[in-house]
């Protein structure tokens, strides 16, 4: 490892170290739909793909590690590390026009990858979210107690925190000029916690907390862990002999179904003063397979188009433990998860590294449509439609880019007792690339 690369990695870690504590304070303030199931499904492949609708199974780029398809990991030249954070503002509106305004920040992903053999074999290691539960719904009312001669105002915060993370480790192998394959192991783990905090206030002086009433905090924490495998294929179809950079690429990935071991604990009380209620529940949670496909078209090293689809049959979800929307041998609101996306990137300079700075900035747009894996109301499926955009700024260090992404979307409807989420997100990502593991040459 050479010194500048090491310094940049330290800088990246410091940046994340500064951002993460602040971000952690904001967890629990996202969509109420993340209360259902295992939380909202989160898909993150790279900051480039995030700005292009989130897809890109067939997208191969030397500046980014494409986490969606391990077959693309074969084409690595630089050792690369990245870290991404996400900030979100969300407005939730119900049928009566009432609105919640919420914001949160969170670590999106980190990764480290390097070529074992340049453009032939590459390894990757990543940490990124699989699902996220983060919501906060607050209700308040007056409660009269004739027995006590009291009238008190109570406030209940229903909140969700945590989610499932995935730790990916895999290899991509160049098999043929037109074919790469990849294999990845995904350790899926995490804690999903739903809490219910009840507090009391004087009905006439809302800032006054009556000493006769004690607050309570109930928490249901579910710890899950399991492993699955993901295989990927990448087919390159050169379009002409003269323009070798132009190519149509097809990609497909398949993730195996898996079983997560789950332990659920009910507690009452705050942090270190928690009391465990009941006995811990243990069980299996069956996650369905996942199939993704994509097409990318690259022209003249300047234009990149991607079109993707993802399918996960969550209707086959099974669990020994109940989750919101799913009761073993009972209610099952789970549906198949479908995601379609498309995106475009324009890099004016192409591979001309001497071009003016703003010609080396990559401009990206995209959109995606999702059908969630849980329908909180059986009458209507929960859909998300969002547009994405992003800028990728080159830095003084070749191979290192700073990406800023923006997503604006809408989820759900105010009909059927549901809520409509309107959100926008800003993603910030630092991608560090450096040539490591150089062989010494002796003259």
């Amino acid at each position: 490892m050479n010194t500048p690369a090491f310094q940049r990695l330290v800088g990246l870690l410091l940046l994340l170290g500064l951002v993460l504590p602040a971000a952690a304070q904001q967890t629990g303030e996202g969509s109420v739909y993340s209360r259902f199931g295992l939380g909202s499904r989160i898909l993150y492949a790279s900051s480039q793909q995030q700005a292009m609708g989130g897809g890109g199974v067939a997208l191969s780029n030397l500046n980014y590690l494409n986490l969606s398809n391990p077959a693309t990991w074969s084409a690595q030249v630089l050792t690369r590390a990245s870290g991404s954070v996400l900030f979100q503002r969300l407005w939730a509106t119900d049928a009566s026009g009432n609105t919640s305004r919420l914001g949160f920040g969170a670590l999106q992903a980190v990764h480290l990858s390097f070529p074992l053999r340049t453009r032939r074999i590459g390894l990757g290691l990543a940490f990124r979210p699989y699902t996220r539960a983060n919501y906060l719904v607050r209700t308040s009312a007056l409660l009269a107690h004739p027995d006590l001669g009291d009238t008190i105002r109570y406030q209940i915060d229903y909140a969700g925190e945590g989610g499932l993370q995935q730790l990916n480790a895999g290899v991509g192998v160049y098999v043929h000029p037109q074919l790469s394959v990849g294999l990845r192991a995904d350790l899926i783990f995490g804690i999903i916690e739903h809490t219910q905090r009840t507090r009391f206030f004087d009905p006439d002086l809302p800032g006054l907390i009556p000493t006769e009433y004690a607050p309570t905090l109930f928490a249901t924490s579910t710890r899950l862990a399991g492993v699955r495998a993901t295989a990927g294929l990448l087919f390159r179809l050169p379009l002409s002999d003269q323009q070798t950079s132009d190519a149509l690429t097809l990609g497909v990935t398949f993730s195996t179904p898996t079983t997560l071991r789950a332990t659920r604990v009910y507690t009452l009380g705050e942090s270190l003063d928690r009391d465990t209620l009941k006995t811990a529940l243990h069980g299996d949670v069956y996650l369905p397979l996942s199939v993704a496909w994509g097409v990318s078209y690259q022209q003249d090293n300047r234009w990149t188009f991607v079109l993707d689809g993802l399918y996960e049959p969550w209707s086959r979800f099974r669990s020994d433990l109940p989750f919101a929307g799913y009761t073993p041998n009972g209610e099952n609101l789970f549906k198949d998860f479908v995601r379609l996306s498309a995106g475009l990137e324009y890099l004016p300079a192409g591979t001309d590294y001497s071009a003016p700075y703003f010609h080396q900035v990559a401009y990206r747009i995209g959109l995606y449509w999702e059908r969630a894996y849980v329908d909180p109301s059986p009458e209507v499926s929960l859909r998300t439609l969002a547009v994405t955009a992003g800028l990728s700024f080159p830095t003084l260090f070749p191979g290192t880019r700073l990406d800023v992404n923006l997503t604006a979307g809408m989820r759900g409807t105010t009909a059927y007792n549901l809520v409509r989420d309107v959100y926008y997100r800003i993603g910030l990502s630092l991608n560090v690339g450096e040539r490591w593991f150089l062989q010494r040459r002796f003259n």
Binding site: R138, S140, Y158, Q196, D275
Partner: protein
């Protein structure tokens, strides 16, 4: 800037509550006492706020005799230099239980030996010396003055003048002789006044004790439990904190409501007074009746209250609420909630509690049921 972008103007609301279902709304649960048990413990009366003396035959509760003990101390800087003309006791009445129309006669005895008071129980027997005199007064008198006979003054002249008065004089016993009332004299204002040829000196009370004897009992009405100060009678309440309605629930507020049979307590002969105790306290005890003590050796008092409107209502807050929460989680040695009287209040005042499950003590709990 990005943090401000996300952190500013958060305004969570009830939007989306329909997806959650408003589960866990605080609710009121009435938990009746499974059992109401009476028990005896040793009542401590040493150096309490008042000393009792007299005998009362209560038609509802039986006969109680109270014997008081008072010792005095000479104030620093005072000295009896000249001839003692007279000595009298001044006792200010602060409590009355019994017949207000009949005079009360008490006998005043010398105490010949030093007697203990700290931690001494009300059923202790102390031997007294010869009778000094008897005195009679109306139980409604607010000030009782007892002149000591000249023979007693002559016999104790040396002691009264002595620099070792505090150790050589051991006070008096106030023994009931006649009447149908127990009176309480305020300890802080009890004085022995010595009038000399040139001066008037005041000796203040240094220690006090009351012993109580139950001379006759009367069967209680069915379904009632007696809680009476001075006699050591206490009441223990047991609740089923493992009931589905409360077990592992989150406790927000609690009131222990103890209905009293005030109708019977108010039925009394003409001129007879049966005062209610000023304070009742609630403590927790374990299965063997042991009272968990604080580091200072005091019982952990969960709450105190005053009988009002025919009931005792204990509002549990703070640590008391936490103790109750622990009971609901099955995590505490406390098995019973015990009703008793503070040691500092020395009375013979009774309370008659309803002990039937339908009308008996009930815990009113504001709680959130555990999530399913």
């Amino acid at each position: 800037m990005l943090l401000l972008f996300t952190a500013g103007c958060d305004d969570p609301s009830a939007v989306g509550i329909g997806l959650i279902g408003e589960e866990g709304i605080p609710q009121t649960v009435r938990l009746p006492a499974d059992s109401v048990l009476t028990a005896l413990q040793r009542d401590r009366t040493g150096n309490t706020s008042q000393v009792l003396a007299g005998r009362v035959a209560d038609p509802l509760l039986g006969t109680l005799a109270a014997t008081g003990y008072l010792d005095f101390i000479r104030s620093p800087g005072t000295r009896v230099d000249t001839t003692i003309v007279s000595v009298r006791l001044e006792l200010r009445r602060s409590y009355l239980y019994g017949d207000t129309l009949a005079a009360v006669t008490l006998a005043l005895h010398d105490m010949l030996e030093d007697w203990p008071f700290s931690g001494v129980a009300a059923d202790t027997t102390l031997s007294a010396g010869p009778q000094v005199r008897t005195f009679t007064f109306a139980p409604t008198d607010t000030l009782v003055q007892v002149e000591l006979p000249a023979e007693w003054i002559a016999a104790n002249d040396t002691t009264l003048r002595s620099n070792t008065f505090s150790t050589s004089f051991h006070g008096f016993q106030l023994r009931p002789v006649a009447g149908n009332a127990v009176v309480g004299f305020r300890f802080a204002t009890a004085r022995m006044v010595i009038i000399t040829a040139t001066d008037t000196l005041t000796f203040t009370a240094s220690k006090a004790l009351t012993t109580v004897m139950q001379e006759r009992t009367v069967p209680l009405p069915d379904g009632r439990a007696l809680l009476q100060d001075g006699t050591g009678t206490i009441v223990r309440l047991r609740f089923n904190f493992l009931a589905d309605s409360v077990y592992e629930a989150g406790l927000h507020a609690a009131v222990l409501d103890v209905p009293l049979d005030s109708v019977r307590l108010q039925q009394q002969p003409a001129g007879f007074v049966r005062p209610l105790p000023p304070t009742v306290r609630l403590i927790g005890v374990d299965a063997n009746g042991n009272v968990p003590l604080t580091s200072l050796g005091e019982p952990v008092v969960l709450a105190t209250t005053t009988p009002t409107d025919g009931r005792l209502r204990f509002r549990l807050t703070g640590t008391a609420l936490q103790a109750l929460q622990r009971l609901m989680l099955g995590e505490t040695p406390i098995q019973y909630l015990q009703l008793e009287f503070p040691t500092g209040d020395n009375t013979l005042s009774p309370l008659l509690l309803y002990a039937e499950p339908s009308r008996g003590p009930v815990l009113i709990l504001i709680l959130t049921p555990p999530s399913s």
